[in-house]
Symmetry: C2
Subunit: 312 residues, 2 copies
């Protein structure tokens, strides 16, 4: 079964033509230059036409378009209810009509974290597993859960806001309006604030870094910078609490960890595993925690399961 | 449809004969004197016989026995996997055989918080609603969730451990092994520790109280005791963070609040509602948060839905 798959990331838009669990053609568009989705539509249309031609099929051969979006989606209507600073104009665009007009195809829009979990369940590390939690460490902290083989969506398509579980009830303000969310304490967007507020920041090598991101943080920590080490420990403690919260909420068979920050899996995973083994209440035994297996393509490969899913 | 229903609470065991959503006969046994379930079985058997006779039916008329237990239950086998200091011997008792031998009936064992939610869904405040979260404030903090009309149980029957979402990642040790669980920060069992550690406790009226429980805390707070007021604010802040975590995890249609502490609903509910309205990320509108409607009988009324449920 052929489909178009679009993954709207914060800095890139992935576009692909898929055939079941196979990517036939693929291109990534730079979206860092704009926060408007409308301004990207011409480039997306041109790219999709080229990818279809590369794959040797036409739009009419496709079942539909699956579109992963970083925001809150009402799953039945596909309406975008909320965005987080990126693609704010998407709420007012009629994407259904646009895809219909340009390609004659129905579009189904889903939250990007949920689409990545669908992909991992369909073709990756969660294949054949009914109860899965996926946590995505990146600019934000994405969360998605599957129970009994179905995506957890909740009444209004919000579940699960995994990175917005409060783990520090007197903590920092989050972009979502809440206090002390894991994301407000240890994610790509909040890290510079967390670091700058740390005692001793001014005399730390972090203060000289061009950009305070996790790559820099982990590097300086390895080099022995004491503030970098302390901030790293803080982030690991936040992620640990967040994972335990997700385990206690859903009791999954496995937890998948994805996202760009997991490029440092060798630092993160052993710490989280130790913490979970020691602190999660898993009376039945010990929990399987794995890196996601399709870091770049999971959301794109979520297209077929999304387009063929009946939403209850 | 007739059934026996047993609700094993920390200080009482509720026993009832039910007919669908109606309680035909009912008695509460004091269980505060013992931590052993085995020592209670003779009294439970005698009570059940009396209740059957009062109801004018025999055990053979009953579909089965529903037993709510404060611990972690493997839902398919009914095996008790973990207890929290109360009825520790239950793990080694063959309750199935006991009910079979004494009453000729099959027993289905379920976590008490989940059974209460089944009761509220069947006959109370959650009737007709598919996505529900219930939070029970008492000796511990119980949590149960229903999605698409089915209880959330997770792979090993642990979900949801609602009171064990960490809301203070550098907080107090919890009986479950985790750090900073809502329950470790603001529940019946942890309140005395929290209060005693509060700066100024020694000169507070709390220090003279015979028992530091929520009734005393709320009374002294109303009377203007500054430590009681501060501890009360702490507890409300913890519960608020916990509720937001549950909303972000499940995106329910409603949140029900139950448990003995909700006898002070006029203090608790307005605070939680204000906090959720301000801080929960509910892009779709505002969340309906209600007191549970069957404070004493919800778990008992969970019997029929539990006994007739097919567990996937």
């Amino acid at each position: 079964m052929f489909a178009l798959s679009i993954d709207m990331g914060g800095s890139h838009v992935g576009c692909a033509v898929v055939n079941d669990a196979q990517i036939l053609s693929h291109r990534s568009l730079d979206s860092s230059v704009t926060t408007s989705l409308e301004s990207l539509l011409p480039a997306i249309a041109a790219t999709v036409r080229e990818l279809l031609s590369q794959a040797g099929i036409s739009a009419a051969d496709c079942t539909g378009v699956a579109l992963g979006f970083p925001g809150i989606i009402e799953p039945r209507s596909g309406r975008i209810l909320a965005t987080l600073k990126k693609y704010e104009d998407a709420k007012d665009l009629d994407l259904s009509s646009w895809w219909k007009d340009y390609f004659g195809l129905e579009v189904r829009i889903e939250n990007d974290a949920r689409m990545a979990l669908l992909g991992e369940h369909y073709a990756g590390a969660a294949r054949g597993i009914r109860d899965v939690v996926m946590m995505t460490l990146g600019t934000g902290i994405g969360g998605a859960a599957m129970m009994l083989g179905r995506l957890v969506r909740g009444t209004h398509g919000q579940a699960c806001l995994g990175g917005h579980l409060p783990v520090h009830y007197r903590g920092r303000a989050c972009v979502c309006g809440n206090i002390g969310c894991a994301e407000a304490e240890a994610a790509g967007w909040s890290l510079p604030n967390v670091a700058r507020e740390w005692t001793g920041f001014e005399s730390s090598a972090l203060a000289d870094a061009k950009q305070v991101d996790f790559r820099t943080l982990f590097r300086l920590s390895t080099e022995g910078d004491p503030v970098a080490m302390a901030v790293k420990e803080h982030c690991l403690a936040i992620w640990s609490a967040n994972v335990v919260g997700l385990i206690h909420a859903y009791d999954p068979t496995i937890v998948l960890l994805g996202g760009g920050v997991m490029k440092s899996a060798e630092i993160i995973l052993p710490h989280l595993r130790r913490h979970v083994a020691k602190h999660a209440w898993t009376a039945w035994g010990s929990l399987d925690m794995r890196p996601a297996s399709l870091p770049d393509t999971a959301a794109l490969l979520g297209a077929i399961p999304l387009l063929t899913e009946e939403i209850p």
